[in-house]
């Protein structure tokens, strides 16, 4: 019931986010309409950070308690980390072509984000190739914690290295530099993406529980 409600709220927020991105937020004076890609590009990477936070907590929880529930939460969030990072990379690339004149460049922000995608892809691969569930969960937990170390590198890459990617406009110590209407449209989309993550993660958790039950029945 709570999951269904979460799904409904997320759907409404996604619709509100689309309306805000295309109907409320103004056309950017410099970039034109292509700037509207930011309303999914930024929420997708922020949601990936939230998903990695869940992987981190789930992984530490599993290593601490050895309870499968923690591992399932980490596994569900790990898959969604890959999904949201893939959206970030794809939408950034689509935005980059008309804005920078290239689909891809080995800029520190882009490279560290691509590395995040590869780490969590390896995380999923590791889970699928190690047959013993206990060992798979332990190895995955260690890799999940290691992968989270890339998040501060991504965030501070624009300060530590000279990059083509613009510096932070929202997650910064000073006030955001964006127009308030654009900031509101972005905030609605961040809420919508985080809500969608929470809904999808709860459904994936349910599936992992059902799979574990089916497997234990098969072994009886």
């Amino acid at each position: 019931m709570a999951t269904r409600l979460l799904g409904g709220v997320s759907a409404v927020l996604l619709a509100a986010g689309l309306t805000a991105a295309f109907g409320y937020a103004p056309r950017d004076a410099v970039q034109g309409n292509v700037q509207r890609i930011m309303y999914i590009h930024v929420p997708s990477i922020l949601t990936a950070y939230v998903a990695i936070g869940v992987v981190l907590v789930g992984s530490i929880g599993y290593l601490w308690t050895r309870r499968r529930e923690w591992d399932r939460a980490a596994a569900a969030a790990g898959e969604l980390t890959v999904c949201f990072t893939a959206i970030t990379l794809a939408t950034g690339s689509i935005w980059g072509k008309p804005t920078w004149g290239t689909w891809w460049t080995w800029d520190a922000r882009l490279t560290s984000t691509a590395l995040l995608f590869v780490i969590y892809l390896a995380y999923l691969l590791l889970r699928s190739v190690v047959e013993d569930p206990e060992r798979a969960a332990t190895y995955a937990a260690v890799l999940g914690i290691f992968g989270a170390l890339d998040v501060p590198i991504i965030h501070f890459s624009v300060q530590w290295w000279r990059t083509l990617h613009q510096p932070a406009t929202v997650l910064r110590p000073e006030a955001p530099t964006m127009d308030p209407t654009m900031l509101l449209a972005l905030a609605v989309n961040v809420l919508a993406f985080v809500g969608t993550f929470a809904y999808l993660a709860s459904r994936r958790y349910r599936l992992l529980t059902l799979e574990a039950e089916a497997q234990s029945r098969a072994w009886r």
Partner: protein
């Protein structure tokens, strides 16, 4: 300067990834929930 094709492509990619993931998870949940309690 409008670049609507790029904007639509970006939103289409995001929709495909999220809707595809959701559809795949729901399909597998339905298949497992349809199994009888003894798993036969």
């Amino acid at each position: 300067m409008s670049h609507w094709d790029f904007v639509l492509a970006a939103y289409a990619v995001a929709t495909l990834v999220l809707a595809g993931y959701w559809w795949r998870v729901e399909r597998r949940i339905r298949a497992l929930e349809a199994l009888p309690p003894d798993g036969t």
